[in-house]
Structure formats: structure tokens, C-alpha cells
Symmetry: C2
Subunit: 368 residues, 2 copies
């Protein structure tokens, strides 16, 4: 079973996102279309190790296939690795029509996507996301990037792939924490655009969805639909696309204050969303907190990492690149499915929202 | 007097190319539209030195302006300089809406364009070409790039500016050789698309056009029209845009064999075009050689730099990135204004074309 969705940005930029348990036929179809004897696989080290059968199958898609293994982890989303990959491609005499398959999670997709966009002014790119987060978020929308000492993703391009092919089978070898991480963004899609996602997850143990592929597929398809709809209308993040940042103004500050690596991006987005729900309410929104709050345990939120003050939090927000002038800009909700962007002039509201969120997490933890 | 032409690639990518002796009002109009308190000037070192009045005027366009001077010369179109500029922008807390003005020739435009396309996934870019070659060629069309030890322009993006503003006044401080260099591409536009350009230049001393701004403006406008027409129909060099490479398969090999720096890009394109004219004829084309050949002295072609064999030339061509498989691909002409792309299987024709071209240059040099 293979689910497909179309992304159309212009007559020249159109591609298919395919998700399924068995994606072999789709790989062969796309490879035939790309029509190149030579191809490059840029593969996350964990995927190369745990999914060697899958990688070997991919090596057969083109006559000559060169493989570059990207060390796992955020520190390798670097300028150094960018240049290593460029050197690698050139050392194998890359030509303009040679496709690059980016196989891994967000780090691999962002790094490989950026490198591919800059090699010979852009090679054909196929995203092969192998984490839940990458499938529903980072592989869609054309954002690429590497980190700089001044911040994450500061160097990058907008670059659209020729296809996105997500093999759900790779989720089976994903560590629990990586699987759970994806639900930060999944719950966010539910909050900003499709409450049915929240209803499907209502009362569910998130980890158990890994065994229930039909239900997982249904959720993933809904998430991809939300993201592609938004991206098609606002490719370069001029306006609408900002709603995808629901919870993220909080999340970026939380990640920074907790120390990078202390919690996953998904966990930070989830906590950020709890706070954004509170802030939305203070600005007049009507929020069904229970649909998000019930997953505090499932998201494995650790209260130790959020023991900083509301003042520290807003200070950290002020240095974030998404701020507009002196005010803080937030995506907030009138209700689930009705997001809008608001510049908040009173830090008091933000402080209150955060204090209540910390209390909410503490109360939940201490519940039976 | 200000000449303007529109470039429309899509509803989102549309910009104006303005050329004139006095462009101050146009700068103010564009700066007002860009609506940013902060801006960055990336300026070629020679321009910074010789056109300080002009640069000072540009510093007044926005409330806060940070200036980065790019050392002059091809060696600085490097990954190192790319990272220097990224660091510079970030050290001044660049934000997404801050425009970058790229002020200089091809090296500055390509390097600054590439860097701008990769900073925060793309800042607003204004090209301010200050050489004749940059005005008619490199500032138009959205190609950016830096060099790699494996070859020129191997790392780069397609990235469209918000505006191109060409101040013709800067041509007055250009060295003669830099001014002449522009005519390689200008004559090429005449050959592939607009024979009137060749007729206007018929019997003219190229260097004297610097004093005749009206005639120069007319020629420049015709060249920009040729290039924008082609680029609008083929932004990413999928097909048609290849005709802009007339003479370039020869030129790249000539530059390589002569040693980089031994002759200018314009001179190499000019010699390459003499050879491409010969090759076109051998494939059935009808060419008015005199309209191109008469400028051998004006282009200051030095016969010393072309003393390599026809075999060396085709060997060098075979390593060029634009080759298709094992055959050499050339743009050739049925006649002026009617280019087409041909894969040439017989190297003999190429050898003959080159031998005749060398003879043509020798004969011209030895004429009274």
C-alpha cells in the first residue's frame, strides 16, 4: 500500500510524496524518470548500519552508485561536512543530471538538501526520510540548512526535491525516543489545522502506534496534507507558512535554555505548544487543553529540563532570528484549526503562560 | 536618462534591470521598496577605492549600512571568502529582510549572489554591476557561484535578485582591458540573436565607445534584452539557455590551455567565437565572418597565448563539465541569429575549425 500526495509550486516545481511499507516499485519508477547512469546516496550512519538491506536495494537503482555515510547527530550539520560532501561528489565527477538520494532524518535531509542545492547550481534531489519527524516535517517544504556557531539553520536555501519517498519500514528500527519525537510536530498539525489528528490520538499510547501501521499511515497522510497545503501557498515563508511555527517561539528558547540535546526537538515543540495554548487563551482563544495535555507522559517530558524562569525564557526569545524588531511574534490560536500571527507587546502574558505551563507539567507528573 | 527592462520568471520572481548615467533616483526607489533599516554593501576593492563618492552615496540609502570589501580577483571567488561574508553578516545580526547590494564585476556578483542566497535561506539581493561584462552578462539571469579546485563555478545556486541597477558612470574608471573584455559577450549576443549589434559595431573602435555613452547605452540595452528574453524562457538552463554558451566550449578550453589570467574571459569568448563561426560553416552554416573578425585588433588578441595544437584543445574540451557523455556539444549557427545545439562526433571538424582560426588571427595580425 502506497499513499501519494502531489506538491505543485509552479509548472517547473512539482513532485510526489509517497509513503508506504513497501516503496520498492516507487523507487524504481522515480529512478527510471531521473534517467541517469550515475547516482549518489547520502546516508545517515545509523540507517546505513541498521538498514543495510534497504541501502543495498537502493544501490541497484542506477548503474553506478556512490555512497557517502553522514555521521549521525546535529554536530555534523556543519559547514565542514557540507564541503566534505561537495568534495566527494566532485571526486566522483558528478554531472548535472546525477540524482542525490538523501536517506535519513532531519540532519541528513537538511545537510544533503543544502549541499545538493549548491552543487553545479542544483542536482536532482530525492528525499528518503527515515524518521517520523522527517516524514511529516523536515523532508517536506524545501527548507535546507546547516548550523553556524551563531545559531541553527542560519545557512541554507529553499530547494525543492524531485520526489519524497518515505519507507515506513525504517521506523521499526528507530529508537523509541526518536519515534516519540515525531509527535511534537504531529500534534502541532492537529492544533493548527486538523483537529481529527488530535481525536485519532485521543486516549492512545503514542509508542503503540509503531505497531499499528494503518493508523500511523492515516495520521502521517493527514500531517503531510496539512504541511503541503501550507507550503504550496507560501513556498518562501512570506506569511502563511509562519503558522507552522506554532509552539516554536517557545520551543527554540526552551531548547536553548535546556542546553541542546537535553530534550528532543519534538519534546521542545510539545512543551512550547502547551505554553502557546496558554498564551492563545490569554489573547481570547478557546482551547481544548485536554487533547494536547494528555500526552505529557507519552512525550516523556522531563520536568528537570524546564527549571528556568519566565524571565530567562523571554530573554532567550529576544535573541531568536524570527523576532520582528523589538516585539516578540507568536503564532496563536483562536481555536484549534484557526491560527494567526500576533506581535505580543506585553511580556507579562508570556510570563504567565510559561508559569502556568510549568505548573501543568508538574501537576500531571504528580498525578496517579 | 534611465533605461529599464523587466524580467518576469514567475509571479513571485519579477525584477527590473535599470541602466543609466545617473541611477540615484532608482536606488532610492528600490531602497524604499525594500523597506529595511539595515542593509549590507559587498563591494569590490577596486570599486571601493576608485568610486568612493558613489559608495558613500549608497551608504545613505538605509539607516544602518555595513560595508564588506571583497579583494579584487578571481582567487577570492572562494569557499573561504563565502564563509568570511557569512560570518560578517551574522556578526552584524543580519535579519531576513535586510538587503544585500553586490557592487562590482563578475567575481563580486557571483560570490555575493551565492552568499546572499545561502544566508537565512536567501536575503533580498540587489546587483550593482560596475563592469561592462557584468552589466550585459553576469548580473542577469540568476546564476551565482564560487570556484573549487576542481573547476570554476562548480559550487553555486540559481538565485534571482530583487533589482539590477547598473551605473554607467563607473565604466569611466574601468581599465581599458576590463572595458574591452565586455565586448566578447556583446559580440556573442550579436551573433546568436541580434545582428544589429554587429552592424552598430561595424567599423567602430571598441574603446572609443566609452566616450559615446548614447551608443553604448543602445548596445547595452540590446544585449540585456537578448539575455533576459532567453533567461525568462529557460531559467534553470534546461535547454534554450545553452545558446548563450556560443563560443564557450572553445573559450573554456582556450582559457585552460593559455593558463588562467593569460587572457580575459571576454578575449577567450571572442577567440572561441571565431572558431565556433568556422565550425558552424563546416556544419552548413552561412556566416558573415567580417562582422566578427574585424575586431581582432580591437579585442587585443595576443597570438602568443594560442600556440597550442588542435589536439590539445579537444583534449581540454573533453574534461569540461558541459560535455554530454563521450561526444562534444557545441552551440553552432545556421546564420547570425539562428543558433542550435549540436553534438559533434567527428573531432576532425573541430580540429580544422581551430587550425583555420589560428591562421585567421595570424593573418590579421600580419596585415598592414
Amino acid at each position: 500500500m502506497l499513499d501519494k500526495q502531489q506538491v505543485r509550486l509552479s509548472s517547473a516545481e512539482e513532485y510526489t510524496i509517497s509513503v508506504g511499507e513497501n516503496v520498492s516499485a516507487e523507487f524504481r519508477r522515480v529512478a527510471a524518470q531521473l534517467n541517469s547512469t550515475k547516482a549518489f546516496l547520502l546516508v545517515d550512519a545509523n540507517v546505513a548500519k541498521l538498514q543495510s538491506g534497504f541501502i543495498n536495494e537502493m544501490k541497484e537503482l542506477h548503474e553506478q552508485t556512490e555512497v557517502f555515510v553522514i555521521p549521525a547527530g546535529e554536530p555534523y550539520k556543519s559547514a565542514e561536512m557540507f564541503h566534505h560532501i561537495l568534495d566527494f561528489l566532485l571526486s566522483h565527477r558528478v554531472e548535472r543530471n546525477n540524482p542525490v538520494y538523501a536517506i535519513g532524518g532531519g540532519v541528513t535531509g537538511d545537510l544533503a538538501g543544502f549541499t545538493t542545492s549548491c552543487m553545479l547550481r542544483g542536482l536532482p534531489l530525492v528525499h528518503v526520510p527515515t524518521t517520523l519527524l522527517a516524514i511529516v516535517d523536515s523532508a517536506i517544504g524545501g527548507k535546507t540548512g546547516i548550523n553556524h556557531s551563531a545559531g541553527k539553520n542560519l545557512i541554507g536555501t529553499f530547494y525543492q526535491p524531485k520526489a519524497v519517498i518515505a519507507p515506513l519500514s525504517t521506523l521499526q528500527t528507530l529508537p523509541d525516543s526518536e519515534f516519540i519525537c515525531g509527535f511534537g510536530e504531529i500534534l502541532k498539525y492537529g492544533a493548527i489545522a486538523d483537529q481529527d489528528i488530535l481525536e485519532i490520538l485521543n486516549g492512545k499510547e503514542l509508542l503503540e502506534l509503531r505497531e499499528n501501521l494503518n493508523q500511523l499511515r492515516a495520521i502521517v497522510q493527514r500531517c503531510i496534507k496539512v504541511k503541503t497545503d501550507i507550503v504550496m501557498r507560501d513556498t518562501k515563508e512570506a506569511g502563511l507558512r509562519m503558522v507552522l511555527n506554532y509552539g516554536h517561539t517557545f520551543a527554540h528558547a526552551i531548547e536553548k535554555l535546556a542546553g541542546y540535546g537535553a530534550l528532543s526537538h519534538g519534546q521542545a515543540v510539545y512543551i512550547g505548544m502547551l505554553a502557546a495554548n496558554r498564551l492563545s487563551e490569554k489573547l481570547g482563544g478557546v482551547i481544548r487543553h485536554d487533547l494536547i495535555r494528555q500526552h505529557i507522559s507519552g512525550m516523556a517530558v522531563n520536568k528537570e529540563v524546564i527549571n528556568f524562569s519566565a524571565g530567562d525564557l523571554t530573554d532567550a526569545m529576544m535573541t531568536d532570528k524570527k523576532r520582528a524588531g523589538n516585539n516578540l511574534r507568536f503564532v496563536v490560536l483562536k481555536q484549534f484549526g484557526r491560527p494567526y500571527v500576533e506581535e505580543v507587546t506585553s511580556l507579562d502574558l508570556v510570563h504567565e503562560a510559561w508559569t502556568e505551563t510549568v505548573q501543568e507539567i508538574m501537576d500531571h507528573k504528580s498525578a496517579p
